[in-house]
């Protein structure tokens, strides 16, 4: 079924596949810092970013941290990765999924001197769980 020439061609293809995979691996590895869509608060504090750098930070909205200003547009909240907390200031409309304990990604500038983040954009993340509202209610009822 396999003559010698066919086996050689198979080896050639395997060689191509392996070299392409290795090349891609090293390229992606080298670009890792650039590919990540957002930093966690811990990573952000480690990185020592300068004020003018435009970056994204992601984490959970901390419970009881959302404060709406009186004009209804200004909002202050904290995002956390359960280790470190970053305080976020934002002016604008929040996405529908924005709530306490929801994963969010904020885009803007970080001020390391007072540990605050001025967000230009807030994106909501949603997790991989899908279920009807009744099921969710039943689950959270049980855990309480």
């Amino acid at each position: 079924m396999f003559s010698n020439r066919k086996v050689n061609r198979l080896y050639l293809v395997l060689l191509i596949c392996i070299s392409v995979a290795l090349a891609t691996f090293f390229v992606l590895k080298a670009l890792e810092e650039k590919i990540v869509f957002f930093y966690s608060p811990t990573k952000l504090l480690e990185k020592n970013v300068r004020g003018e750098e435009y970056i994204r930070v992601g984490g959970l909205v901390q419970t009881d941290s959302i404060i709406y200003e009186e004009d209804g547009l200004n909002v202050i909240f904290s995002i956390t990765d359960n280790k470190n907390v970053v305080k976020v200031f934002y002016i604008g409309i929040l996405p529908d999924l924005f709530r306490e304990n929801q994963g969010v990604v904020v885009e803007g500038n970080f001020n390391s001197s007072n540990n605050s983040f001025i967000a230009k954009k807030v994106l909501a993340k949603h997790d991989e769980n899908y279920m009807p509202p009744e099921v969710k209610k039943a689950i959270s009822g049980k855990s309480k």
Partner: protein
């Protein structure tokens, strides 16, 4: 023995006869499953606890995404078999799939974008999953241009096969992009080691829709292959005459 069997199918005329019933069955199955699937997905399945009704976009978005990946995997294997065995039929099939793959890729990108606005708050972000899927669109484009450039000769066959094999590296990158890097796109809900994280009432319409779109893909692919074989026959007759 096995080689004899493959040779039998490699005869285009016999192959046409073999695929004809499969084409018919695929069409009927696609219509039937898509009808039931859409009814279930749009009318009877429950809303999501977070996204409420918006979740129904999933029943189109996710099956199209799966099928666009599957289409590429099929191109990969047919190209691989062509390189090893050099049967023209393999590359003929491989060359007919990209146009269907790119259609489902476009559907995935557009529905995903429309889904992103109400849930994430943006139509598009340059995160790893979305970007790698856009790269899949460009790879399909490249394959289609290559195929069109050599429409009336076989000179492009071997380069088509090798390029599609090189491009296949993007498939695992798409699949695992959400695990390797932190992305705005959520991780896998169905194909994961610890089982689906999607409730059964939503998983069932999703599976029905996926099968429906899979059969639709088979129908379209077989139709394309059939017409490509007929076209080849007519061309060779013209040359002879």
């Amino acid at each position: 023995m096995l080689l004899k069997k493959i040779h039998r199918f490699a005869n285009p005329n016999k192959f046409l006869k073999v695929i004809y019933p499969f084409k018919k069955i695929s069409l009927y199955m696609a219509v039937f499953l898509l009808f039931i699937g859409l009814m279930d997905a749009l009318l009877f399945s429950p809303p999501d606890y977070q996204q409420s009704q918006t979740v129904r976009i999933m029943y189109i978005h996710v099956p199209s995404a799966w099928v666009s990946l599957l289409a590429y995997i099929m191109i990969f294997f047919f190209s691989l078999m062509y390189i090893i065995w050099k049967f023209p039929l393999f590359i003929l099939i491989a060359k007919e799939i990209p146009i269907i793959g790119i259609s489902f890729t476009l559907i995935t990108l557009v529905t995903g974008s429309l889904w992103g606005k109400p849930t994430w708050g943006t139509y598009w972000v340059w995160d790893a999953r979305l970007t790698s899927f856009l790269v899949l669109l460009f790879i399909y484009m490249g394959l289609i241009f290559l195929e069109k450039a050599f429409k009336f000769s076989n000179n492009g066959d071997i380069s088509f096969a090798y390029i599609s094999i090189i491009g296949a590296i993007n498939i695992p990158v798409i699949k695992f992009s959400v695990d390797w890097w932190n992305t705005l796109h959520q991780p896998a809900s169905v194909f994961r080691l610890d089982g689906p994280t999607i409730s059964a009432e939503m998983l069932i319409p999703l599976i029905i829709m996926s099968l429906g779109i899979l059969f639709l893909f088979f129908f379209l692919a077989l139709t394309n292959v059939e017409s490509a074989i007929q076209e080849k026959k007519i061309n060779s007759q013209n040359f002879r005459g």
